[in-house]
Subunit: 107 residues, 2 copies
DNA sequence: TTATTATATAACTATATACTTATATATAGA
DNA sequence: TCTATATATAAGTATATAGTTATATAATAA
């Protein structure tokens, strides 16, 4: 079973509208940070810090590609996090351009 | 669908170990505040404030009986809150006494 | 009515949170 | 190498959170 402390950490990570929006974006697959910055109306460092919080809770995974970093949902989630993800209405993003987010960019 | 703000409110309400413990206690049914104060190692006003936060998020319901107040889980929960409740290991409490928590006290 | 008891609220405080701007790091390209 | 770009980290700040103690409220008992 999950320890209470681990549950608290995971739940704190998702109890914020901006982080919920980030997760809603990631429902469509891997997204690079630059695209996420366009969605949230906060600064780039703010997004970076939100992503770190989600990553440290084990909810998202990162992949480095050149100067870019792509984030995606962890395929393994605790049931209650998965239930939250299921509830979230996906947010579709417009990718920033072929240089960072084209299909051939994903490997 | 749940609005992001409502999700945030509910998730904030459960992202705290003491409130998770309260919910774990309530899995066994209705419990009065005095018993909950014995479980958490914090003051009575602290417990009262935690209960209020859970109540305002719609996760628990209250019933007044004389000077006592009994709290129980709301039977209607959003799926993700229900999933959290399912994950919680129940905490069994020893009722404070027949005056407030006996079976005939429950009506 | 007065005293007692259960719970809630108020006022306060220390810590956590979520931004901001400035700067660091790391990669790519000229 | 030098410059530009993507992202992360550092430092600072305003607000939120979760506890505390003191007090208020409401119901019961004497």
């Amino acid at each position: 079973m999950d320890s209470l402390l681990n549950m608290e950490k995971q739940l704190k990570a998702v109890s914020d509208t901006n982080r919920l929006k980030l997760l809603a974006c990631l429902k469509q697959g891997e997204v690079c940070v630059c695209d996420l910055v366009d969605i949230l109306e906060v600064s780039q460092p703010a997004v970076s810090q939100q992503l770190r919080k989600l990553k440290e809770a084990g909810i998202i995974l990162e992949r480095k590609k050149g100067t870019w970093k792509h984030y995606r949902l962890n395929e393994k989630q605790s049931p209650y996090i998965q239930s939250i993800l299921n509830t979230l209405e996906p947010i579709s993003i417009h990718h920033c351009g072929p240089s960072c987010c084209s299909e051939e960019g994903h490997q």
